[in-house]
Amino acid sequence: MNIDKARQRYIPMSETMLYILLSLREERHGYGIMQYVKELTNGRIVLGAGTVYQSLGKLEADGLIRAVREEDRKKYYVITPPGAQILSEEAARIHEIYRHLEGII
């Protein structure tokens, strides 16, 4: 998928997609992603098996992540350069929102 199309599809992206992409800056498998996100958000986001499986399939098909290895029937994924590009653009967008909202809380 070219980067423009990926932008259209993923920016803005859901919290689930954002945290999955973020977690895949390091190589991880399904369950590992859930644990990482749960810890990072202090238990606020607990991803379900179906959601993780489905999201990985979508992100892989669109070239934002790729499978790196398989071990014990577990598949490990990592973010690709286009995935990292999308993630950083999304981060910039959220950062802008953050600046606009400062002082409201």
Partner: protein
């Protein structure tokens, strides 16, 4: 009292995936657990009476699951109950917070849409069957008995298609659940 029972046409009766899951959960709370879920369970599912358990059931439609599908569910603590065609049934015992497999709205919607399209595929086949039989009954130069057969087959197909149409409408109305 018998300690087994048969339940008929369950996936069609509880068309909406979330309703089907809740129905399974209710059965388990009353101590009814499916003996084996397989190809024929969509017509008749056998349950056996046992200990009441608090199970969270999940149904998932996966026509072409990737290699890591089963593994991901198992790792998250789900027990594979069985499979009817492409519909996978999972469960997990819980206390306190009810576990979710589809933890956000977009993924819940796409799970429900997969069920919708699976039913839609059968609906289209049956509707075509009804049309072809009806067309043949009207236009084909056949004997009267043969014509009656064609009319009956058209009526049966139309009836089944109508039932699936109702199922489709119910799933569509509940895509968010």
């Amino acid at each position: 009292m018998s300690n087994t029972k048969l339940c008929w046409w369950t996936p069609f009766k509880y068309a909406v995936p979330a309703d089907y899951e809740n129905w399974f959960e209710q059965q388990a709370l009353e101590g009814w657990h499916p003996v084996k879920v397989g190809q024929w369970s969509s017509f008749a599912m056998r349950f056996k009476k046992g200990e009441p358990k608090r199970y969270r059931y999940v149904v998932d439609m996966q026509p072409a699951p990737r290699k890591d599908y089963m593994r991901i569910y198992e790792e998250f603590g789900w027990e594979f109950v069985g499979q009817m065609a492409s519909a996978y049934v999972w469960r997990r015992e819980y206390e306190g917070e009810r576990p979710e497999s589809f933890s956000d709205m977009p993924s819940r919607r796409s799970r429900n849409k997969r069920f919708f399209w699976a039913v839609a595929a059968s609906f289209i086949m049956l509707a075509l069957g009804a049309l072809v039989s009806a067309g043949a009954a009207i236009f084909a130069p056949v004997l009267p008995e043969k014509r009656l057969e064609l009319v009956l087959s058209a009526a049966l197909c139309a009836l089944a298609a109508a039932a699936l149409g109702v199922v489709m409408a119910r799933i569509r109305k509940n895509l968010d659940r």
